[in-house]
Amino acid sequence: MRSDLVTTGASRAGAGAVTTFQVASPDLEAVVRDLSGLRLADMFASDGDAPTLRLVWANDAGGRQSGYVITETPIGGDQYPELSDIAPAAFVEECEIYEQFGIRPATGKPLNRIMLPPHADLPTLGRKPTREPDEVHAPHTVAGEAFEFPFGPVRQVGVESLYYGLVTSGEEVVDLYLFTWHKHRGLEWRLRGLTPPRALFFAERAEGLSAVALGWALAAAAEAATGIRPPVAAQRARAVALELERLYNHAAAMAALCQSTGLSVGQSAAEIALERLLRLNARAFGHRYLFGVIAVGGAGRAPDADAIRADLPGAYEEFKRAADALLDTNSFVDRLEATGVLTIDQARALGLVGPVARGSGLAADTRLVPGGPYNADIGTGIAVATASAGDVLARFNVMLAEAAESVRLIGQFLDAGTGAATTDLPRTSGTGLGWAESPRGEALAWVQLDDDGRISRARLRPASARNWRGFDDACRSQNVFTDIPIIEASFWLTAAGMAR
């Protein structure tokens, strides 16, 4: 914690990995300036009528993520200090808060459309915005010599609905923006009034490809809110599931990379590994995508340790063989190199997480935060893989290294013993922050429980919601049309996670 926070008049509360400060609205700007050495992980509002603005800062300086700082600021009117000028990562959340709560940064800079479809009137969490979002991305001037290539929302086969507005001068990508409101299911709106276990059902389905991570984050948030700790064996079961999730996602990303580079033999090899990993999931946890593994207060299912020990080496061997063969294929590596470059400064400014950030050299990993199963009793720590080039190849290499680390961790967790026990959740009020390292990066959840133990405000922030904002920057960096699918595959994000 930074001691100078005290000088800004913030009052401190909380213990362990999460520290909460109360910051008055006039001090907010100064506090944000103070904290700008930390990574702004999330920002959201709660309490519809008199909104409270909450900023979640991750303290991951020096590759040791030591925890989170939350600042709480009650907002009086319908404006608050402009934060994205100081902490650029706040921009998308500023837009989202405006859509949901009708409060906006005081400078009145234009805000984008994030969740609200242009042609539907959806319920919001708080006041409705006084006017439509400005859509600063959308209208490039007609006088310019570029045009918008409309792509989507119905795109290729077997991919999610997503609209790309690709502003191009013919070949070069001048600008790129996304609309994901086609998939906005109002999850945060839906979660109000649900008990945490019911909320978990939706959290798993917010972004099914990180069901474990999001479920874990929500469960951990509820546990933090009520002050319980899940049994250690259950925590290890969660961790096994989380690492299995990482493995299959990286295999799927590898298959997608092959598809985007037109290497269908490589795609087949990667898909064989992927399918074996999914079957392993089904055998070990009873679900191919590990739904239902996480339970609030523990783990819903325990892994079949024998099955994992029997099948994982073979499946990972398949993965490794495909990856090695791909790295030997020059035509593949050439397409990855220097494509979709994100510098470390961009990654830091936009608050990117996961393999994208690590591929650019930011060693951020929530598994390092003390208190979880990862460094409780196993003791060997986690090797966080990073690369510096920031291109697609760097992200691919990070994924490969992470897969190897996951296999090692799974073995350790199984040796340490796993189980499906749960601790019962008391019916109390409270707020809590939960996190987990999804295959795409840090997934965050924050819940506020009422006296009945029901959720009065839940915030879900999958890694996709964070990393899509780096996607257009990566596409803009001197790339042409055909690089975009490759970059998309290397980010391996979901529209579902962004739109929620």
Partner: protein, 164 residues
């Protein structure tokens, strides 16, 4: 056209190859992953004469996932309208069948609120095997087993007692 006639036409016309277009109306991306795996070596739906096509103009079958987001209705209708007849709509997954989201301001909750669904494939997500079976049912090459499945297990008194 009655369902029987439709199935007969489809069995006759699509006997050898059938082109599939997918449509995501708000899924969590897992059904999409399973659909992609249909083309993977383990399932290889091409051996059965099914092919994916990105253009609805060439598609005979629409695989719809997700709970049909209201904001997406325009796109869903456009995609359906763009397909030539005869066409089949297959609702895939619990979301599309009403199992996850209710009928509310965000979603219709089920696909058949907007599109005329011919085949329903349950599952969250339906595994590629279930999808293969569903596609077989859709073209009339496989029979509907679920019609005869009672979802009741034989009583096993000892086990019940043991459980008690």
């Amino acid at each position: 056209m009655t369902p029987e006639e439709l199935r007969e036409t489809i069995a006759r016309q699509f006997g050898r190859s059938l082109h599939i277009r997918t449509l995501d109306t708000g899924s969590c991306a897992v059904c999409e992953q399973e659909i992609r795996l249909l083309a993977a070596p383990h399932y290889d739906l091409h051996r059965l004469g099914f092919f994916f096509t990105p253009a609805p103009r060439h598609a005979d079958l629409l695989l719809v996932t997700g709970p049909m987001i209201r904001a997406f209705e325009v796109a869903a209708r456009k995609t359906y309208d763009a397909m030539p007849g005869p066409k089949i709509v297959v609702a895939v997954g619990a979301c599309a069948l009403g199992g996850v989201y209710p009928d509310d301001p965000f979603t219709y909750g089920t696909v058949d609120a907007v599109l005329p669904v011919d085949v329903w494939i349950p599952g969250c997500p339906p595994s590629p095997l279930a999808l293969l079976h569903g596609l077989g049912v859709a073209v009339g090459r496989l029979t509907e087993k679920v019609r005869d499945l009672p979802f009741t297990a034989e009583d096993d008194d000892e086990r019940i007692r043991g459980a008690r």
